[in-house]
Amino acid sequence: MLEIKNLVVQIEDKRILNGLNLTVNKGEMAAIMGPNGSGKSTLSYVIAGKEDYEVLDGEILLDGQNLLEMEADQRAAAGVFLAFQYPLEIPGVASMTFLKATLNAQRKARGEAELTTPDFIKRVNAAAQQLEIPKDMLKRALNVGFSGGEKKRMEILQMALLQPNFCILDETDSGLDIDALRIVSEGVNALRSPDRAFLVITHYQRLLNHIVPDTVHVMSAGRIVKTGGKELALELEATGYADYRETEAA
């Protein structure tokens, strides 16, 4: 499904990704772990198409399509979804309005008809209920004045609505208390399907107790340095990233 080959990326002359290779298959739940500054968030931004990054080499293919040639919105329409570590606030734009605008923009891009309002509301309400998002929150301006947990739930709500086929969760567990973590994880698990792949970026093993990965990759100094099963996460929890930092210094 997602194939990254020899990706080299820099920002303002600073090399962040150093020939990164990664494959995520259909239906797979892949996790990337690594110390701070190893380039995890950069990877998520580059896949989603943020402009500030300069791709010097390599390619990113989603079902064979070259993502690097596409704008961020085209990638979204192709099925890439990034749940942000720090979701943005958009003053004056009600969450409901935002959800409708994005859903219809994607449908339009894929040549599908726009949803009718009742149909749209039905979908939102169903998804909101599962994530324990109260209705009045949907009327408020997007993410404005939301708590950390509310923002993360709003991200997962968008994911549930937009039905992407490749989801990146960037440090989704940061800033969540235990209840919020459970709700968010259940929301993610409910979306697991044989047609959809996930890339979960996290610093801690905690999230992976709730969202159990098929594969765990360890990232350091802009490269995947080790790949294993879910037990690798537990191993890391015990030993820390010390072993991998050396690679970084090298």
Partner: protein
């Protein structure tokens, strides 16, 4: 920053094709001789069948105007207007005081239909959806061509008619109030208007009456080389309420056309006037050729105690806008509000804002201004809030925010805040910012194009003001803002 470069390129290509009201209507016109003189003023007055006092009023204004100088303090620059190269009166020939819509030139009705104002249907639909009805007075170049719902309004005692008719039919009311808010000698453009105004609307709401529908005037400049000088006078008698909306459009022309209107509002004790404007005069092309010079004097007088005047404006058109809808808060406990969205793109120049003059006790005012500058435009907020010695307990809150799109435009804030009363409390805040790249990326990651994302964020930015507009106009205004900004991002 490639996005910015593209923005610049796109901005270059816009404007001409964006203005969808730029068509011209073929109507036979009758015009005054070109230029301005006492004879031209006599001609206009005679055409309108005015009484002698009105003619005298105009002539006095003209004499005064000859001694005045065009103001130069606003942050706008433009080629000098040749006041002797303008037709001060132009009227569709067939229209000699139409008695009903059937007598109006069908070409003109078609024009209004194109503009989205089907006058005929307004009447036909009456009763179907009573709460949504809007009475419309349509002004085509210099004359009012059609006023709808006249009959029903008169049942409520509301007078809504072209001002030229009101001068003949209600001379006492007109004489009492006209010039009492914007004196003949007020400023260069207002004085010019006093001399040559051709038409406009007159509204009187009797004591205790809540006007049963929205009142609306659509102004259209059609003829070449004409200036439009309308004059509007709205009087809300004690305890009454009225909501009034004006809209404006003009064809695309290479030359600049002058629009110098005067609007006077009078609110007596406990009365409330809501005045909304959706201004979409032709802004000129990408190089700044053509477009309307919009030099307008609008002022409301909260004359009675606890009266309220609210100005709401959505300004997207005109090459140059010079406009400061103001409130004189004379009555104790009166309230003035100003909500503004000013969008400028291409080579447009906007210098707009308000004046809140607190004279009475416990008067309050509120100013919310949202300026959006794109292209190579200049967008200035200029406002005055003042409390005089006797304005004990005056309160003002001002918030003016500016948004810049691209780095070839300018956004400026020039507030004057003057308090002569220790018990007055004034708060003013202003910010200038841009749409953050992170916000844009977030929206795009969810599948919105750059243009859709910009429109969405801008609509959020102006929401506080849009909410002040009557529902149907809010939707129209929102579309208008999106159209005005089309192509401003790459």
């Amino acid at each position: 920053m490639p996005a910015v470069q593209e923005t610049i390129d796109q901005v270059r290509s816009i404007d001409v094709d964006q203005y969808k009201y730029g068509f011209e209507t073929e109507v036979e016109m009758e015009k005054s001789p070109r230029g301005l003189s006492e004879d031209v003023i006599r001609f206009i007055s005679a055409k309108k069948g005015e009484p002698e006092w009105m003619l005298q009023w105009r002539l006095d204004a003209y004499k005064r105007w000859l001694t005045m100088k065009e103001p130069a303090w606003a942050r706008v620059s433009y080629d000098k207007v040749d006041y002797n190269d303008i037709y001060y009166y132009a009227a569709p020939k067939k229209n000699q005081a139409p008695k009903s819509l059937d007598e109006v030139d069908p070409e003109i009705l078609k024009t209004y239909e194109k503009l989205g104002i089907p006058l005929r249907e307004q009447e036909i639909l009456a009763g179907v959806e009573p709460e949504r009805r809007v009475a419309v007075d349509a002004v085509f170049d210099s004359v009012s061509v059609a006023t709808t719902f006249k009959e029903e309004l008169s049942k409520a005692g509301v007078i809504f008619m072209p001002i030229s008719e009101a001068i003949r039919e209600y001379p006492d009311l007109v004489r009492q109030y006209m010039g009492s808010v914007v004196p003949v000698t007020d400023n260069f453009f207002a004085t010019l208007n006093s001399a040559v105004f051709t038409d406009g609307s007159f509204v009187y709401i009797p004591p205790g009456v809540r006007c049963p529908m929205e009142l609306s005037t659509y102004f259209r400049i059609n003829e070449k080389n004409t200036g439009q000088f309308e004059r509007t006078l709205i009087i809300a008698d004690k305890g009454s309420y009225v909501s009034y909306l004006e809209g404006c459009t003009a064809p695309k022309r290479d030359e600049n056309q002058l629009h110098a209107a005067v609007v006077e509002l009078v609110a007596l004790d406990d009365a409330e006037i809501k005045y909304s404007t959706v201004q979409n005069w032709y802004p000129g092309d990408a190089e700044g050729r053509g477009g309307i010079y919009n030099f307008v004097t609008k002022r409301g007088d909260c004359r009675g105690k606890n009266s309220v005047i609210t100005w709401t404006q959505v300004e997207t058109g005109s090459a140059i806008t010079w406009k400061y809808p103001s409130c004189i808060l004379r009555g104790d406990g009166s309230r003035g509000e100003f909500y503004s969205i000013a969008v400028s793109n291409g080579m447009q120049q906007v210098d707009s804002g308000t004046k809140m003059i607190h004279l009475g006790k416990n008067t309050t005012s509120r100013i919310i201004s949202k300026g959006i500058a794109a292209g190579k435009s200049e967008n200035t907020y200029r406002g005055l809030v003042s409390a005089h010695r006797k304005a004990t307990g005056a309160r003002n809150f001002t918030n003016c925010d500016s948004l810049l799109i691209g780095n070839q435009c300018g956004a400026h804030t020039v507030p004057y805040i003057e308090s002569k009363n220790a018990t007055a409390v004034f708060e003013h805040e202003a910010t200038t910012s841009k749409i953050s790249e992170d916000q844009m990326f977030y929206c795009q990651q969810r599948g919105l194009s750059e243009e859709e994302a910009t429109a969405l964020i801008v609509n959020g930015f102006v929401k506080d003001v849009l909410q002040q507009l009557p529902m149907e106009f809010a939707v129209e205004a929102q579309k208008l803002i999106s159209i005005s900004l089309e192509g401003s991002v790459g």
